[in-house]
């Protein structure tokens, strides 16, 4: 490929990685400062999607532009993109299962709470049985 395309790919990738790193730090601060599990879930979303999926796509672009890596740069680019897609699918489901388990087993308190329909439904079911 010609140098201009390489530069464009690398710069685009670096912008994505920079955005990802920013999200990463923000999510980490949130993870540390938020008061309880259900609030920290929000930080986890930013950490997984903004802090992992976006930089992985950036890495794929950088690798595609780095011709000093030789022919095997496509290996890095492809694997980074696949990892990004996997994170995009797995992270939300992992959080969902965890949140459901935490709610059901009462391992974490729901706080601050406006309304909790899941809890009300469960109480109703329990009452009927």
């Amino acid at each position: 490929m010609d140098p201009v395309t390489n530069w464009v790919l690398v710069i685009l990738g670096e912008i994505l990685v920079s955005i990802g790193v920013f999200f990463d730090v923000v999510a980490a601060i949130g993870m540390l400062r938020f008061p309880n599990f259900f609030v920290r879930l929000h930080a986890a979303t930013i950490g997984a999607i903004g802090g992992a999926f976006v930089p992985l796509m950036g890495v794929a672009l950088i690798a595609a532009g780095c011709d000093f890596l030789g022919k095997y740069r496509w290996f890095i680019a492809g694997a980074a993109a696949v990892t990004g897609v996997l994170v995009l699918m797995l992270a939300p489901v992992g959080s969902h299962l965890l949140a459901k388990a935490a709610h059901e087993s009462r391992a974490a308190v729901v706080e601050p709470k406006v309304v909790d329909f899941l809890e009300e439904d469960k109480a109703k079911e329990g009452g009927e049985q």
């Binding site: 996997l86 699918m89 489901v93 969902h96």
Partner: protein, 362 residues
Amino acid sequence: MISLTLYYVLMAICGLGSVVAVFLAIVERDMLKAVLFSAIQSTLYAFLYYLLMAPDIVLTYIPVSVGLYPAVILFLIKKTERFEDVEMKKGVLWATGLLSLVFVIATAAVIAGKGIGPVPPPDVRFLAGWYLATTFNPRVHLISAMAPEGVTSIVWDYRGLDTVFETAVLFLAIIASVALMRGVEHKGVYDELKHGMTLIGKTITKIVVPLIIGVGISIALHGHLTPGGGFQGGSALAVAPLLVLVVFSKYFFDKVKFTKTKALAIRSSGLLGVGLTAFAVLIAAIFLHKPAYILQNQPRVGAPLGFPWKGIDGVLLGGSLLSFNACEAMAVCAGFVILFLLLSIPERYVRSVVVGGEEHEH
């Protein structure tokens, strides 16, 4: 030079974090938390191995210590109890913490002061050079393993007998568990709504399982070319049925009629494959009236027969390593499946069978 400093800082943070995690895992009374602390330690160690340029170890370490080990411990917690009833005394706790701190600092001081000589020692460097020169070298075919991946060549060629014995140890462990649980048969009808986890979890697991199987197979069959190998591939593959077992429930296996006996058959054929590969050259040599060794891969001095190492268009086959890796992966994966199928039988049922048996005897 800034990059080298960063490198050391990264390694130091990983090392420190894992020491703290291990300490917490030991003093924690809640076993579930202890498992999670050990998972933190594993993740940090995986990163440490990556920084030390040992991707083979990362590829084994993550599936085993994040995918299999927590599951085994959780199965055991399910079978026994979650909380330890004895709490560690405050004094003992502080002493343990102080001792580990002193140990870490002392070790670091000794190594930094060249107390154990140059790291790594010069004779080990010679050994490494020797391995690098002989694992793949067509010019010295008579002493070369003819596979570009150093670790797999060492595991199956340089010290193949050890690896065969390791396979046998795992085989015996599985046999022991099957023997312990004989007579405990449990079947149920799979109910989509009642059993397993939520629909979202099931759907995404359906997508992930083929991916895990693909990664596992590629780790196993590419073991002679890139980091990986039979055991690594097998333990990575075993996580796929384990996920199905946990997310879809045990009764799903009853529905698709995948029983313990079928897993045993797969396992035995894998072991048979390992055995046949070990004796293949010897058997061929007996028919051709030539000398040969057991576990022979490439031609050696005085033993002219060997596995082909190059396929069509110069594709590297790695001699016997490919066949060893494929069979080992089958055996290891099926072995873990047997183990988890046995361990997943609901505890109240197992207890009723065991207690009932005792009452019958009395």
